[in-house]
Subunit: 423 residues, 2 copies
Amino acid sequence: MSDQNIKPMTSWVQVPKNSDFTIYNLPFGVFETKRISARAGIAIGDKIVDLSVLHDEGFFSDITQLPNDIFQRNTLNDFIGLGKSVTKKVRERVQDLLLEDNENLREHQCRGKAMVGRKEAIMLLPVKIGDYTDFYSSKEHATNVGAMFRDPDNALLPNWKHLPVGYHGRASSIIPSGIPISRPKGQFKDGDMEAPAFGPSRRLDFELELAFITGKQTKMGESVSTDEAEDFIFGFVLFNDWSARDIQSWEYVPLGPFLGKNFASSISPWIVTLEALEFVRIEGPKQEPSVLPYLQCQKNHAFDINLEVYIKPENKEATKVCSSNYKYMYWNIAQQLAHHTINGCNINVGDMYASGTISGPTADSYGSMLELAWKGTKPIQLNDGDERTFIEDGDTVIMKGYSEHNGVRVGFGEVSSKVLPAS
Amino acid sequence: MSDQNIKPMTSWVQVPKNSDFTIYNLPFGVFETKRISARAGIAIGDKIVDLSVLHDEGFFSDITQLPNDIFQRNTLNDFIGLGKSVTKKVRERVQDLLLEDNENLREHQCRGKAMVGRKEAIMLLPVKIGDYTDFYSSKEHATNVGAMFRDPDNALLPNWKHLPVGYHGRASSIIPSGIPISRPKGQFKDGDMEAPAFGPSRRLDFELELAFITGKQTKMGESVSTDEAEDFIFGFVLFNDWSARDIQSWEYVPLGPFLGKNFASSISPWIVTLEALEFVRIEGPKQEPSVLPYLQCQKNHAFDINLEVYIKPENKEATKVCSSNYKYMYWNIAQQLAHHTINGCNINVGDMYASGTISGPTADSYGSMLELAWKGTKPIQLNDGDERTFIEDGDTVIMKGYSEHNGVRVGFGEVSSKVLPAS
């Protein structure tokens, strides 16, 4: 864990105990209300700071690179694309303005307009996503899946420890928290069936992931080194990579997942910046065998982030079914981005890169129902007497993530999505 | 072949013999010149009709749904998104204006400004591509690859005849004809190597494909039936799906191709509309076993389009290395789109869907060097005494496509890209 001391801070905005949105966090998002159109905001406690109001009132007037309407757009792409030198200044300015002793905003006539209740706000997708990539970077997850579907003694495929395996996913169907999804229909063929059948998926699953968003583009032919990678990464969101296991297992050879995944992915709407997570930067797992030079790192790129998954059946209480941590990832974000671009593949502002399912070493830390209920053989008990092997209609799946260290808490809020019956 | 009679037409624009851009074709593209900024055009012979000039001069004044600046944008997305009822009217109006006997444009004072020489124009990407999907729909190609890498007696995997296998690719690295690509670097591990190595790909390949572009969006949860599919498809381009076979074969298990593909894909810049290809609509291959109901079709969705690939070494003449045809595709576009959306995956205007490598039944009709030179074992002889197993630095790969029937020709022009050494 980083031993850098964080300056203790308190805000004049009341921040509930255990809030993810402390003054140390200040994540960026895009929101609208019944009264106001889509715009950029920063979350603190139960409030959203309307950045467009602050900008109009001149609070950023010395940050010269900010276009007039930059916070009134319905995505953060243009803002993020201004670069970290600008986005950091904006976040630090807001942090300063929110400090207990700072009366500039606290006593300003615009305060009522600038501070919007989170309950009033509808959160939108924070960025227009160009391309979306999904990695497969948890050794525990890859091992579990390999053991289930191939060979427990040779669960990891030969390439797995040499490169961060990844594939391209569908950007169009990434949606923010709160939007329900319909159970997908498709083809499946279980081992005992003579021919494939068609119908609603019988094995709908979540995948607990974290995704990073790039804030800087490259040209085709350029590569990003592990050293440079974090300068290209703006921040993270929670990512539920919905999966239909029966569709996926029938379709995926030889070219990978397609309809088993592309019907929906749900994200938390607040982008937690890399800067806000600096205090939980840690060393990642030892990589053995050693990796090729372009994947070697000079510093730590792992982060200690607690992750949880809850299932809430219709009209019943939620049960926590998974407690995992982002620190288990074998491949880190710098390696993922360096690998992704080593062949000259160009990246854009707003691209999204999910981690792959984040499973830990223990049976209660697996990041999917496939693993938690071990391919349907070990049903998970829920609080109300229900049990689950996969996700049922009416269930809401909720993922949470937060870091805590020395009394400082920085979190993601949640990504929550209800499953509706197949339409 | 469709027996519908095409009304014979000639234009006052001189169209060279064997031109792909006849008055029967009239494909849409986006171009700029040294004098004028990016805008929409229609190709005929060696000319481009500047649609923005025609619009300004009132030639489309009765097509009420056209915004004023619709042809002055740097992509066709907004235009295509107006729907076929509008795009068809524009194309038919231009066709009418170009007819030999029609003097409205021919004798108009704007003619000089409206007709731009194709040689003066730089062709840009015709659409902003949201998501890009690559199918694997040629039985001959899938059989060849399966025979080479798995088992000649069981070359096709069990799912192949039941669904159009596909996967998501990288949209950011799709580029128009004429832009050179750099040989990608990456990891590879040949069978005789103990550990993976890193360097420029030693097995750079093309893949001969055709891609369709959607012109209409769906909402998440909606599906497009095979009957409705063509209403969602605006037209086609030639698609060279560059592939690094050594990188691909090491990385692709279990989640499919990634860095072996995403460094570049090149397309021809003119979108040939579905309407222009109506005269070569034919019956596709018989599908046995019969497919599930959602993949069954009420009409023919295959097209007879001749496809050719040429390799031109640096400072040498080009050699034709492949003659294939789009009619060999086992899965048609209506089935591809119906399958893609059967799970509720939403699509957008400007999305691109490539066919997968289009191989025919004979050894000279295979759509990749992997197959033509059979995994490096049968080098291809070029005119100048060179031979090739894969693509070398300095080579230009040129793909052409055209349909001909009863004296009518409609073609794609070409997609031509030179390979530069790894940077």
